[in-house]
């Protein structure tokens, strides 16, 4: 059985399973983003503030995602770190209309990047500059500079503007994310640092 498993994975026939962590401040739209990926039957009509976390599953290009939708409220942010250790990617959702709390976002991001379970690994990070439809929304470039994303040199990252309610921009982000995860997951195909870095800077 073990040998068969290996063979299947080698030929890329087997569906890959990854665990991703979805974090961000409260009211940034994490649960709504994940709700978009669910099948029509499972979609919930009403989104309430998450207490603790929720586990959601979805698929993209034959990769199965297990997303841990963490609560973004101030008193629960300490709990994120319990899940850093065994995730293979992070989706960081930012409310691009909330200029005031961009500093808070930056602080939380710094804490995340400095955590030993994250800093030592080349985890792909997808930033979603959500709520792009809002009138006073910042552009993704401004958010990238506001958060100082160019300081991240050892991890592949990508930022894209999105609207979680209509689903705009989400596909693009997740497609990038899936590719990154594929590269990490396939043996012999070590993640190429320059590639993703370039892609990060180009955006």
């Amino acid at each position: 059985m073990g040998l068969f498993d290996k063979l299947v994975t080698l030929f890329g026939l087997r569906k890959q399973e990854v665990k991703v962590l979805v974090v961000g401040l409260n009211n940034s739209g994490k649960t709504t983003v994940l709700n978009h990926f669910k099948s029509e039957d499972d979609k919930s009509t009403e989104i309430v503030p998450t207490v603790g976390f929720n586990i959601e599953k979805f698929k993209n290009q034959n990769v199965g995602f297990t997303a841990l939708d963490m609560s973004g409220q101030g008193r629960y942010r300490d709990l994120w770190e319990f899940y850093y250790k065994d995730c293979q990617g992070i989706i960081f959702v930012v409310d691009s209309s909330d200029r005031l709390r961009l500093a808070v976002v930056r602080h939380e991001l710094d804490l995340l990047l400095q955590h030993p379970d994250v800093s030592s690994r080349a985890l792909p990070i997808l930033f979603l500059a959500n709520k792009m439809d809002q009138r006073d929304a910042l552009s993704s470039v401004k958010i990238a500079s506001g958060l100082g994303l160019d300081r991240i040199l050892d991890k592949p990252w990508h930022i894209c503007a999105s609207n979680a309610i209509t689903g705009e921009g989400l596909e693009e982000g997740v497609t990038w994310f899936t590719q990154q995860v594929r590269q990490v997951g396939q043996p012999g195909n070590r993640p190429n640092r320059t590639g993703p870095l370039a892609s990060g800077k180009n955006n």
Partner: protein, 885 residues
């Protein structure tokens, strides 16, 4: 290889597969929960191990538990139903130990509102175990929905969880009463039962609402037999409350009676059980209930038989005549194949039966006593104890039986209850004393319980010297010195010394034995032997009395504290034993007082707060006083508290202000503590004090008012007085008035409306200082010797006619209470049918004056009393005699 191992496991067969698991290895295995893809079968197995460990009493530390808990949260990604349900159980077990358990709140609410029916009920239970009061509001909406859910399992789970939540968040749960009401009309028997439980719990504190609820439901007729049982219990509780309106009583009683004709056996039994256990049941109401139980005694279903005979057993003492009616059925149950039923039947018969049947029943029970469990053996022993008090003449049969039981195998509880019973028999029945002691002597020859052996040796030391042939016990006691461990040897040495002190002809032999004990290997035993040997060698009777036969009379914790203080302040003066407060002798608690059963069962009863052990009233009072800055510097001058009285109510309990007085008596001073409670929500009292008009000779030294007394708080005002020089003037009555300044205030905030107030006073009852307040009880093991010794002290004698007393017992109880002295040699109990009685009392007056009182009582048109007082101070003797008159 694998095949071989399988075979080996098969051979082991049926053993516990979890027998050899270990905490550390299981915690290690639990890391598998973090794997990216979850293996449900493996994880379920690991979780089972974790739960097994927790249920075996293994204790996880907070970090360990939190780690397992968070690993477990990752299992939510699996869709496996069995695993998910195990996760719920894991959450519930760990919720009290791990930190940040609220992390699973959203996941659980998702499951509880989801489509998977198997998840919903269990998710609710898990959710309620992790929710605290602050989080509850967030899930309130979901709980309300779940209570009225169509699925009975979900509804039941929500109702029971609400009941548990009500313990911490009573107010919030009260808002769910409408939902509970709706659930109550459910067709499901369990939902209806649980809904009634919640509805009752919400209204529990409001008596009128409960009465309304019960009277509505009794008419309505419920579908669920469980709900009917609960309703019966609620009705019983209402009936037991004393101040119920007379009208409701009869309806409640007739409801319970009607339940005797219910179609479910469960309800019939509950009603019968309720009927016989009600305090107020009359013979007329009892008859149908007992006949139902009688019917159950002869059914073919063992649980019903058991329930019926157990109920009959419990009420055998309170309603003997009713139970006697069932004797014939009980006789049939003696040979029941179920030993528990047979035991209960026999013990019931023992309780109700006639003297003539005792022999036969004892023979019957002896035939299978070895087959029943310890727990039921204790029931048998208790029945025998009841028999002994009832038929003292049968003591030899019973005693033989007990000693046979003592020789059997059994746990400490069982052996202790037998020894207790024998000791009670010895104490209540002088004829049985010699045989009882002989049985106990035999028992300690082969007793593996140190605590029991020590107790029996102590008893031998106390009772043995007073028997006809004290010498026969010495051998048994000395055998212990040769064969036993240090604790028992020590007790044996002390017991031998008692013989030496009280039996002059044995003294020489005892001294030889004690001299041998001085070679013991244990320090404590050697010390005791040397101590007793030296005192006995002096051959002075008064030394024997005060250092061997009498036990230490000071309170041990206080002695420890004083000695500690003494060692801290190095001084040249020797330690003075007199400065240690005396131990108050606790009044004997009647052992066979009826145990108050909670009719509500475990569901709603609250455990009583445990009393602080080892701390007397005096010490807790001293602790309180030394925390008051105004008194702390005064305390060294006052000395130790000699005696603290029970609180006396100076007001009725339902008045505007409630005042209680506690009297602390020092050697020369009296401190009155007034606990005041303000029950008016619109008043703030300031500068509250109790102004006293002291009796003649008393001098007020210091008053300490309460600066502020807000609504519903109890604070204490103090008043320090000096006792009069003349001892005879120290009893008296003080007029008392509560004086204070009133400020009107807002009931909601408690803040005064304005800064102006007005002075007011409130009359309270007089404070009485009597003899009992100034005397500490002292227990004399050998009162007669102490009395002899006190012959050269001051003695006063007087005769009184106590016309208001109707019986000797009443007179004796009153005298003991009035004088506040400790009766010795159980002389406070008057034997039935005697026309004269002598009461021996002992105590210490404040300042350390010994007081001994002998009161000879005679019954003749009222009670005549000849009172002889011997005291080390003539004034004290005079005070005692004058106090009685």
């Amino acid at each position: 290889m694998a095949f071989k191992r399988d075979k080996k496991e098969e051979e082991d067969g049926g053993g516990n597969p979890f027998e050899n698991i270990e905490k550390t290895s299981v915690l290690q295995e639990a890391r598998a929960f973090n794997d990216t893809s979850v293996n449900p079968r493996k994880c379920t197995h690991i979780l089972t191990k974790v739960l097994y460990l927790l249920n075996q009493g293994e204790i996880l530390g907070t970090t360990e538990a939190t780690e397992v808990f968070f690993a477990m949260t990752k299992l939510f990604q699996s869709k496996d139903v069995v695993l998910r349900r195990m996760v719920y159980l894991g959450i519930r077990e760990l919720s009290s130990i791990a930190e940040d358990v609220i992390i699973v709140t959203s996941s659980l609410t998702k499951d509880m509102t989801g489509n998977e029916a198997l998840y919903r009920a269990a998710a609710i239970r898990a959710l309620c175990s992790i929710t605290d009061v602050t989080m509850l509001q967030a899930i309130e909406r979901y709980m309300k929905q779940a209570i009225v859910d169509k699925n009975p399992a979900v509804s039941s789970a929500a109702l029971v969880s609400s009941l548990h939540l009500a313990k911490t968040a009573g107010e919030l749960v009260k808002r769910w009463v409408n939902e509970a009401q709706e659930a109550f009309s459910s067709d499901n028997v369990m939902v209806q039962y649980h809904a009634l439980g919640l509805m009752y719990h919400i209204r529990k504190t409001d008596r009128l609402a409960v009465i309304k609820l019960v009277s509505r439901l009794t008419k309505q007729g419920l579908k669920s037999p469980f709900a009917v049982c609960l309703l019966i219990r609620i009705a019983c509780r209402l009936l037991e409350d004393d101040d119920s309106a007379p009208g409701t009583d009869s309806t409640l009683l007739s409801f319970i009676e009607s339940c005797l004709r219910h179609k479910t056996e469960l309800v019939i039994y509950e009603a019968a059980h309720a009927m016989v256990n009600l305090r107020r049941t009359t013979a007329r109401e009892l008859a149908p209930a007992v006949s139902v139980l009688q019917l159950f005694c002869s059914t073919s279903k063992p649980p019903l038989r058991f329930a019926a005979v157990r109920t009959l057993n419990q009420v055998a003492m309170s309603h003997p005549s009713a139970v006697t009616a069932c004797n014939l059925d009980l006789e049939n149950l003696i040979t029941d194949s179920n030993r528990s039923i047979a035991t209960l039947a026999i013990t019931t018969l023992l309780k109700t039966g006639a003297e003539s049947s005792v022999d036969r029943l004892m023979k019957q029970i002896a035939s299978f006593v070895s087959e029943i469990s310890d727990e039921f053996k204790i029931v048998v022993v208790q029945a025998i104890r009841a028999l002994c008090t009832k038929f003292p003449r049968k003591h030899s049969v019973l005693m033989n039986f007990l000693s046979a039981m003592l020789r059997d195998e059994g746990g400490l509880d069982y052996k202790a209850s037998i020894a207790d019973t024998i000791i009670t028999i010895i104490e209540s029945n002088p004829e049985a004393k010699e045989t009882g002691l002989a049985h106990l002597c035999e028992f300690i020859e082969d007793c593996e319980h140190t605590s029991l052996a020590v107790r029996i040796l102590h008893l031998l030391g106390r009772e043995g010297p007073k028997t006809k042939q004290p010498s026969r016990y010495i051998r048994f006691i000395y055998n212990r010195v040769i064969l036993e461990n240090a604790a028992v040897r020590g007790a044996a040495v002390a017991a031998m010394a008692q013989f030496g002190a009280q039996c002059p002809d044995l003294l020489e032999n005892v001294q030889v034995l004690l001299a041998r004990c001085q070679m013991d290997s244990d320090d404590e035993v050697r010390d005791r032997a040397t101590y007793y040997y030296t005192i006995l060698a002096l051959s002075k009777r008064n030394l024997y009395n005060s250092y061997i036969t009498e036990s230490l009379q000071v309170s041990i914790p206080a002695l420890e504290k004083s000695l500690h203080q003494y060692t801290l302040n190095a001084s040249d003066t020797p330690f003075d034993m007199k400065s240690v407060p005396l131990a108050a002798v606790e009044p004997l608690v009647l052992e066979n007082a009826p145990q108050k059963g909670a009719p509500e069962g475990t569901l709603l009863s609250t455990p009583a707060a445990p009393q602080r052990l080892g701390v007397s009233k005096e010490e807790s009072a001293l602790e309180l006083l030394s925390n008051i800055p105004e008194f702390a510097p005064l305390l060294p001058q006052l000395g130790p508290i000699f005696r603290t009285s029970e609180p006396v109510e100076l007001t009725e309990s339902e008045t505007e202000y409630v005042v209680r007085c506690i009297k602390h008596c020092f050697a020369r001073h009296l401190l009155l503590q007034f606990d005041c409670l303000n029950t008016l929500s619109d008043q703030l009292l300031e500068n509250v004090r109790v102004s006293l008009e002291p009796a003649e000779g008393y001098r007020i030294l210091r008053e300490l008012p309460i600066p502020k007394l807000p609504y519903n708080e109890t604070c204490s005002a103090f008043c320090l007085l000096e006792f009069p020089e003349e001892l005879t003037a120290s009893t008296g009555t003080f007029g008392a008035t509560l004086a204070y300044m009133v400020k009107d205030c807002d009931p909601a905030t408690g803040l005064p409306d304005s800064d102006d107030g007005y002075d007011d006073t409130y009359m309270v009852e007089d404070v009485e200082v009597n003899l009992a307040d100034q005397v500490q009880r002292v227990w004399k093991g050998n009162w007669a010797a102490a009395w002899e010794e006190a012959a050269n002290l001051c003695e006063l004698e007087d005769t009184y006619a106590l016309t208001s007393m109707r019986s000797l017992q009443e007179a004796s109880t009153n005298i003991v209470q009035f004088l506040g002295l400790q009766p010795a040699d159980r002389s406070e109990r008057v034997q039935e049918g005697k026309s004269s009685h002598t009461l021996y009392l002992a105590g210490v007056f404040r300042g350390g004056h010994d007081v001994l009182v002998r009161a000879k009582l005679a019954l003749a048109d009222g009670v005549t009393m000849q009172l002889t007082v011997r005291a080390s101070n003539p004034d004290v003797a005079e005070l005692v005699t004058s106090a009685v008159g």
